[in-house]
Amino acid sequence: MFPVTLAKGFVTVVVSTLALVILCLVYAPSSVSSGALAGSLPFAAVLAIVGLGQMLVVQQGGFDLSVAGGVSLAVVIATHYPAGNDALLLPAVLIAIGYALLIGLGNGLLVGFLRLNAIVATIGMNALIYGGVFAFSGGVPRITTNQLASIVGGSSFGIGNAVIFALTTLAVVGLVMKKTVNGRRFEAIGANRLLARSIGLRVRLYQMMAYVCAQLLYCLAGLLIAGLTTQPTAFQGDPLLLPSVAVVVLGGTSLLGGRGFPISTVIAAFFLNQLSQFAYALGVPYSAQTIIQALALGFGIGIYSLRWPNTNQTKQKNMEETNETLVS
């Protein structure tokens, strides 16, 4: 039998999440009631999808600060173009995807080929996208089409459709990254660009594709938000920027690039969302909620920064990990 090695990030985030769920069950059982989960899980799903997009970019040693613009643009296109007319929903979705591809290619060209700093390039792109958001909407919200609201807000087999979208996205990202040649090359390039280039891999193309795929995921998240909130604002992506990085960090993906942890990232999204629900259920003041979330993030980063015992064994294990596909 092949040995199954659990990544440190996966173990940490699962243990933390289980501990949080137990805390919720003891101190705030309402936050894990079926009704509360039905209300909050769709937003965890949105965060999970955005986090997966950010993870792809982080794996290439970059940062994508155009998350907010990408999500917001999809929201305004999905609500403004159809203006309540279900028949125009599909064209609106296709337009949103088209724009996401363009933005992703733009980011990818700037970072992958022109070698601009990722933070500078994507923050500039974010400003450009918000230009598009205003051009499309003038900043004015519109009501979501009934069809989009029923697709995203509905449920299948007792599970919210938004959650199903997130799990499907996770399966696709996980399988492509861990089980295909291109996916393995993608991780290898993130881990060591110079080595990857020396063995003939098309490093820049893979880096560009990270931004393209990330924008497609932000677009999906934007479409989900447009369906979940009946009258979304034109800036619905703004609150997602910091959490998108937080879930990647909590999931264990190194900010220096390399191996990605899609399952851990999705669990981290659930963790952050449940942490908010826990704080709401306890009725703590808003300031305390913010502090609790910041502490959780600090805790997450701290865990990975600490030197664990048996450093040699850990190093050896890490080296082995880069050579085999693991449960993450």
């Binding site: 509360a36 203006a83 230009g131 051009a135 900043g139 004015v140 919200p141 619905q236 709401y280 259920a281």
Partner: protein
């Protein structure tokens, strides 16, 4: 983008001015419009939502009632405090006689207001408190009485729940003065038999529909009995209210501000939700009209209005039908405000540019 946005704004203003001038041609000149010729500028700190578009169009329409106003300009700070300050200064430098300012950035714009006032312009900040003193830093501050909104909501809550009940109050960003004023108004009317379920002073939603939905889910799960929800931005509740269905509970009574989307949501859902009563105060687009009247009166030598602060009138009450039953114009965008003086169709044109 800036250019297209500017063109759009100009088009709205031009349309509003044309409409208003057409109507004003046969109307009497209002008393606040004096004989001296003057130019007027409306300065927004942030103009990018439907409420602001309707408000801007309302301000332009009010200015157009006065033939002494020879020039009308508009600038949008786009949420950027630096730009808002620069807009105020450049309008004053251009010699615009009267400035009506929505000071979103609060006291941060006070030095610019003071400098414009010192340069001889009539300066009227409105709605958002900017600090400073009237007659020293600016001409006149035209506030909005959020305490009165709270009192109106409190009185209605007492009328539908005479024996007390559980109240959930949602407002915008943490510590915003609008929310705390509204709470003070409600507390003037409601005694201890009315229990506020939210953490003091209110549940923070940032007026963001997604956050509102998450907060409301948690509150519904936590509190088996919510008798009335109070929110100071009704339209942001629309998406969140569907959460009650997930708990198999009726939407409770709602006391809030008006919006076409909310009125239409009530029309579609009140029969299936027996406890869903709705009471709204006007969202307050017409606050700008009072500010424009003050600015024009001061700049043209007219008679200033008697009101010094804008009191949002009660707009809808689904229980008494007074002063209005719940309004819904399903044929028009959800993001218009039927409480505003500007007609619904003109608002639709403004937001559908």
């Amino acid at each position: 983008m800036k250019l297209s946005s500017l063109k759009g704004q100009t088009a709205i203003v031009a349309a509003a001015l044309t409409l208003a001038f057409a109507g004003a041609a046969h109307a009497e000149v209002p008393s606040w419009c004096g004989p001296n010729k003057a130019s007027l500028a409306l300065l927004d700190g942030y103009g990018g939502n439907s409420w602001r578009l309707v408000t801007t169009a309302s301000g332009a329409a009010e200015a157009a009632l006065c033939p002494s106003i020879t020039d009308y300009q508009y600038a949008d700070g786009q949420g950027n405090t630096q730009k808002a300050i620069s807009d105020i200064k450049s309008m004053a430098a251009k010699g615009v006689n009267a400035l009506v300012v929505f000071g979103d950035a609060g006291p941060a714009v006070l030095p610019a207001l003071k400098s414009a006032y010192g340069a001889g312009s009539v300066v009227v900040p409105y709605r958002v408190v900017v600090g400073g003193e009237e007659g020293k830093d600016y001409t006149k501050f035209v506030g909005s009485s959020f305490v009165d909104d709270g009192v109106s909501w409190g009185n209605w809550i007492k009328s539908i729940l005479p024996d007390g009940g559980n109240v959930l109050f949602l407002s915008g960003p943490a510590g915003n003065s609008q929310g705390t004023d509204e709470l003070a108004g409600m507390k003037q009317v409601l005694d201890d038999s009315y229990v506020f379920l939210n953490p003091a002073p209110f549940d923070v939603t940032n007026w963001d529909p997604a956050l509102t939905q998450q907060v409301l889910s948690a509150e519904i799960a936590k509190n088996p009995k919510i008798d009335v929800i109070v929110s100071d931005f009704g339209p942001s509740l629309v998406g969140a209210l569907a959460t009650f269905a997930k708990f198999n509970r009726s939407i409770p009574a709602i006391a809030t501000s008006d919006g076409n989307s909310l009125g239409c949501f009530w029309a579609d859902n009140h029969e299936a939700n027996p406890d869903f009563k709705l009471f709204t105060v006007a969202t307050g687009n017409d606050n700008v009209r009072l500010a424009v009247q003050w600015a024009i009166a001061e700049a043209t030598g007219g008679t200033p209005p008697t009101d010094k602060i804008f009191k949002a009138p009660v707009f809808e009450d689904s229980v008494s039908g007074q002063p209005n039953a719940v309004q819904c114009r399903a044929d028009l965008p959800g993001s218009i405000y039927l409480s505003a003086v500007m007609s619904a169709d003109d608002q639709a044109k403004a937001v559908n540019k």
